[in-house]
C-alpha cells in the first residue's frame, strides 16, 4: 500500500495517440461552442468549464472498456464524449431541450444511460457518486460482469463526509472502483490549502489502506497510462485506487465568476502548460501529427459541431405539462428491470450460497453468531418499567393479536415450502 508516483511508460499505438488528441480537441470545442451559446443566452442556468483539464477527463475515461461504468462530474464533459455521448446531447442538456437525455427535466451533465453507455447521472451534492459507484462496482462483481467503475471528485469535494464513507466502504469491499481526484487547486474561490491541510491529496488514500497515484493532469499520456494501470489492477481484484491529477482550473467556478481571487501569475503559469498544446507539440515532434492532419481534425470538428449545434438549437423546449408525473416507475411497462447475470446463479443461491456465520480472527480462532431469534434485543426487550399503554387484548374486529407470546423461529422449511408453492 502506498503512493505510486511513476508507472511503466506504455507504448501507445498511433491510433490511441490520435484518439486522445481528438477527444481533447472535441472536449474543448464542445465547451467553446457552449460558451457561445451562453453568451447568446441560450444556456439555462450556469455553465461550467474544464478548460485546461481536458487531459484528465479524456485520459482516464479512455482507459476504460465499453462495459465499464462512469459517473461524470460537472467538469467531465470529456469523459462523456469518450464514452460515446454525442455533443448534441450535451448541448441540449445545457439548453434544457426536449430532445435532451432528460427531456429538460435536468440540465448540464446531469443525465445518465444505465442500459447502453453505462453512465450514472451526477447530482450537485459533491461526493455522493463515490458510494454509488462503489455499489455499482460491488453489484457488477456480484453479477460476474468483471466491470470497473470510475468517478471524479475535486480537491474541495474530497472534504465531504460521503467521500470518506464511500471510499472506506469500497476499500473494505475491495471494490473494482477507480476514483480520480482532480486537484485543480481551487474549490470555487477557496484555495486548496484552506480546505485540505495536505501537500498531496493522494494522501487521503492512506486513511483507507488503498493505493494511490499522483500524476501531472496536464499530460494526457501520463493520465492515460496511470488510469489504465489502475483500471487493470482494480479489475484484477486489487481493490479501489485513488488517482490524484494535479491541474488547474483556468476559468472561474462558472461563467459568472471572473475569478479575480486567483493570482495572475498562477493562471499565467498554467496557461503555459495547456494540455492540448503540450500534446500537440509532442505529436508533431513524434511525427504523429502534421499540419494536414491537424487541418483535417479542425474541419471535422467544425462540421460535426455545426451540425450538432444546429440539431440542438432546433430542438423544442419541453411542453409545460411534461413537468407533471413521471416521479415513479409504474412497473414493467415503464421499466423492465432485469439483472444481467454473467455467472451461475447457483453460486449465490442455496445450497451453494450457504456459509457458517462465524468471524475468524487471525490468531484467535472463531466466534459464532450469537443469540438467535430469542436473544434479547436492543431496547425493545429490556424490561419495561411501566406496563405498555396498549396491551393489545383480543379484538372484536381487526387482526387477531396476543401479547408477549414467545416468538416463534420459522424453520427454513417454511420458506422453502412457500417457495415451491410458487414454482
Amino acid at each position: 500500500m502506498g503512493t505510486i508516483t511513476k508507472q511503466m511508460p506504455r507504448e501507445l499505438t498511433r491510433q490511441q495517440h490520435l484518439d486522445l488528441y481528438y477527444y481533447m480537441r472535441l472536449n474543448r470545442a464542445v465547451e467553446e461552442t457552449m460558451v457561445k451559446l451562453f453568451r447568446q443566452n441560450k444556456i439555462v442556468g450556469g455553465l461550467y468549464s474544464s478548460l485546461g483539464q481536458e487531459a484528465i477527463s479524456v485520459g482516464t475515461c479512455y482507459a476504460l472498456e465499453k462495459k465499464d461504468w462512469i459517473a461524470p462530474m460537472i467538469r467531465n464533459i470529456g469523459a462523456l464524449l469518450v464514452k460515446g455521448v454525442p455533443p448534441r446531447d450535451i448541448f441540449m442538456q445545457h439548453m434544457a431541450k426536449y430532445d435532451s437525455p432528460t427531456k429538460g427535466r435536468d440540465g448540464t451533465s446531469h443525465f445518465g444511460d444505465l442500459d447502453n453507455l453505462h453512465i450514472v447521472s451526477p447530482i450537485s451534492m459533491l461526493g455522493d457518486l463515490i458510494p454509488v459507484m462503489t455499489g455499482v462496482a460491488i453489484g457488477g462483481r456480484y453479477l460476474g460482469q468483471k466491470i470497473v467503475t470510475m468517478t471524479w471528485i475535486g480537491d474541495g469535494g474530497s472534504s465531504t463526509g460521503v467521500f470518506h464513507e464511500g471510499l472506506n466502504f469500497a476499500a473494505t469491499q475491495k471494490a473494482p472502483f477507480v476514483l480520480v481526484l482532480e486537484n485543480n487547486l481551487w474549490a470555487y474561490s477557496t484555495p486548496v490549502r484552506r480546505q485540505v491541510p495536505l501537500e498531496n491529496l493522494a494522501d487521503r488514500a492512506k486513511a483507507y489502506g488503498i493505493d494511490s497515484y499522483i500524476i501531472d493532469g496536464n499530460n494526457v499520456m501520463a493520465v492515460y497510462n496511470t488510469a489504465r494501470e489502475a483500471v487493470e489492477r482494480a479489475r484484477a481484484g486489487q481493490g479501489p485506487i485513488l488517482i490524484e491529477a494535479k491541474t488547474f482550473r483556468r476559468l472561474g467556478h462558472a461563467q459568472h465568476d471572473p475569478a479575480e481571487y486567483v493570482p495572475k501569475e498562477m493562471r499565467a503559469r498554467w496557461e503555459a502548460r495547456d494540455p492540448i498544446a503540450l500534446y500537440e507539440k509532442f505529436l508533431t515532434g513524434e511525427r504523429l501529427l502534421d499540419a494536414a492532419g491537424k487541418k483535417e481534425i479542425d474541419d471535422k470538428l467544425d462540421t460535426l459541431l455545426a451540425a450538432e449545434r444546429e440539431f440542438a438549437e432546433n430542438s423544442p423546449m419541453p411542453p409545460p405539462e411534461f413537468a407533471e408525473g413521471g416521479v415513479y416507475c409504474t412497473g414493467d411497462e415503464c421499466h423492465q428491470i432485469r439483472a444481467k447475470w454473467e455467472r451461475a446463479i447457483a453460486e449465490v443461491t442455496p445450497p451453494r450460497s450457504s456459509v457458517k456465520a462465524v468471524w475468524t480472527v487471525p490468531g484467535f480462532g472463531s466466534g459464532k453468531g450469537s443469540g438467535g431469534a430469542d436473544a434479547p434485543i436492543h431496547f425493545g426487550d429490556t424490561s419495561v418499567v411501566d406496563k405498555p399503554a396498549n396491551n393489545g387484548r383480543p379484538r372484536k374486529a381487526g387482526a387477531k393479536m396476543t401479547v408477549k407470546g414467545a416468538p416463534k423461529k420459522a424453520k427454513p422449511a417454511a420458506a422453502s415450502t412457500s417457495r415451491k408453492g410458487r414454482r
Binding site: 453479477l143 381487526g398 387482526a399 417457495r419
Partner: protein
C-alpha cells in the same frame, strides 16, 4: 371482513401460522432472497449477528457473504451503494440499525435516490428499512418516527405496518416494487404483537389502507403502534355506544385517498392518531386532503391526537406523557363524536 386487496385482513388464511411481527419481517426477507437472487441485504451487524433486533437471523447462513453484507458505520455509503446496485437490476434491502440513523443518509436518499426516476429515467428498486418508534424507553435517539421527512419527498414510497400479516406482505411488495421504498418497523410491536400469516407466498399492494373495524359515528385514522392504541380506544368507545370506524393507513405515501374519503363520507367525522410529533405530522396532510375531497361531509373538525412537540424523553413517566395512549384517544374521540 375483507381488506382492500381481498385477502382476509386478520391473516388467518388456510394453513396460516401465528408468528411475531419480528418474525414476519425475517420471513419476508428470507423468502424474497430465496425467490430472487437479485435481492441482497446490507447493514450494520446484519450478518454474523443477525441484526441488532435479530430480524436477519439465519440469512447469512443461508445466502452467504455476498448477499448479506456487514457494512462499516456509514449510512450514506449503505444507501449510496444500494442505489448503485439497484442500477444493475439488483434489489438491495438496506437496514438502518435504528431508523434514527437514517438522517445520516438524508442527502443520499432525498436528493439522489428519490429524484432519479423523474430526472434521469433511472429507477432505483431498493428498500430502506429499520426499527422505529417509541414506547420502549429507547430515549431521544432510538425512538424516531421519521415518516414525514419522507412523505414530503416526492419519489419515495413510505410504508408503516401494524400487523405481522401486513408487515410480511408489504415488505415483500416493497422488495418487488421498482421504486425506493421506506419501510418502518415499529419496534414496540416486534415481539409484543403476534398474528397469523399464510404459509404460501402473498403480497399486499402498496398504497392501500384497510378498515380494521367498522363503525358509523366517527373515523379514526392511524398506523403502526398507534393502530393498536386506537383499536383499544374503539373498544372503550363502543361501551359508550360510540361506533368507531378504525382505518389502518399502512402506506403513508401514497395515501389511500379513496378508503379515507369513503369512510369520512360515511361517518362525517375524523380523528387522526399518530405517534409522530404534532406540528407537520401527517394529520395535517389528511386534514388538507379531507378539506379538498370531503369538506361538505364534515360534521366536525378533523382533529389529531399525537405525541408532544418535543424530542422523545427518556424517563418512562415522561415518555408516557409524551405519547398518545388509549385513554387520550378515547377522550378526544368521544368529544369529537359529541361535537
Amino acid at each position: 371482513m375483507a381488506g382492500a386487496n381481498g385477502a382476509p385482513t386478520n391473516g388467518s388464511a388456510a394453513g396460516g401460522k401465528e408468528i411475531t411481527f419480528l418474525e414476519a419481517i425475517r420471513q419476508a426477507m428470507f423468502e424474497e432472497m430465496e425467490r430472487d437472487p437479485t435481492v441482497l441485504l446490507m447493514g450494520e451487524d446484519v450478518g454474523v449477528y443477525g441484526g441488532a433486533f435479530k430480524t436477519s437471523e439465519g440469512l447469512l447462513e443461508r445466502f452467504g457473504w455476498e448477499r448479506v453484507i456487514d457494512t462499516p458505520i456509514s449510512e450514506s455509503a449503505i444507501i449510496g451503494a444500494a442505489c448503485g446496485m439497484s442500477y444493475l437490476g439488483l434489489r438491495p434491502i438496506c437496514e438502518m440499525q435504528f431508523i434514527d440513523f437514517i438522517v445520516c443518509a438524508f442527502n443520499q436518499i432525498t436528493n439522489f435516490v428519490a429524484k432519479g426516476h423523474y430526472l434521469w429515467n433511472a429507477p432505483a428498486p431498493m428498500v430502506i428499512r429499520g426499527p422505529s418508534g417509541g414506547g420502549v424507553h429507547g430515549g431521544p435517539f432510538h425512538s424516531a418516527n421519521p415518516e414525514m421527512y419522507f412523505v414530503h419527498t416526492p419519489g419515495l414510497k413510505v410504508i408503516y405496518p401494524s400487523t405481522p400479516y401486513d408487515a410480511k406482505g408489504l415488505l415483500k411488495a416493497a422488495v418487488r416494487d421498482n421504486n425506493p421504498v421506506l419501510f418502518f418497523e415499529h419496534k414496540f410491536l416486534y415481539r409484543r404483537i403476534k398474528g397469523d400469516v399464510p404459509t404460501e407466498d402473498y403480497t399486499i399492494p402498496i398504497g392501500r389502507a384497510v378498515v380494521r373495524r367498522e363503525g358509523k359515528h366517527l373515523t379514526i385514522l392511524s398506523y403502526a403502534a398507534m393502530m393498536h392504541t386506537s383499536l383499544e380506544a374503539a373498544d372503550a368507545l363502543a361501551k359508550e355506544g360510540i361506533e368507531t370506524e378504525v382505518i389502518d393507513l399502512r402506506t403513508l405515501l401514497p395515501l389511500d385517498e379513496e378508503t379515507i374519503v369513503n369512510s369520512v363520507k360515511k361517518t362525517n367525522k375524523c380523528l387522526v392518531v399518530h405517534e409522530d410529533t404534532k406540528t407537520g405530522g401527517i394529520a395535517g396532510e389528511i386534514a388538507a386532503l379531507l378539506c379538498e375531497k370531503a369538506f361538505r361531509d364534515l360534521d366536525g373538525p378533523v382533529l389529531r391526537m399525537t405525541s408532544l412537540d418535543t424530542p422523545v424523553p427518556y424517563a418512562p413517566t415522561l415518555e408516557a406523557c409524551f405519547l398518545p395512549n388509549a385513554k387520550k384517544v378515547f377522550t378526544a374521540a368521544k368529544a369529537l363524536a359529541r361535537y
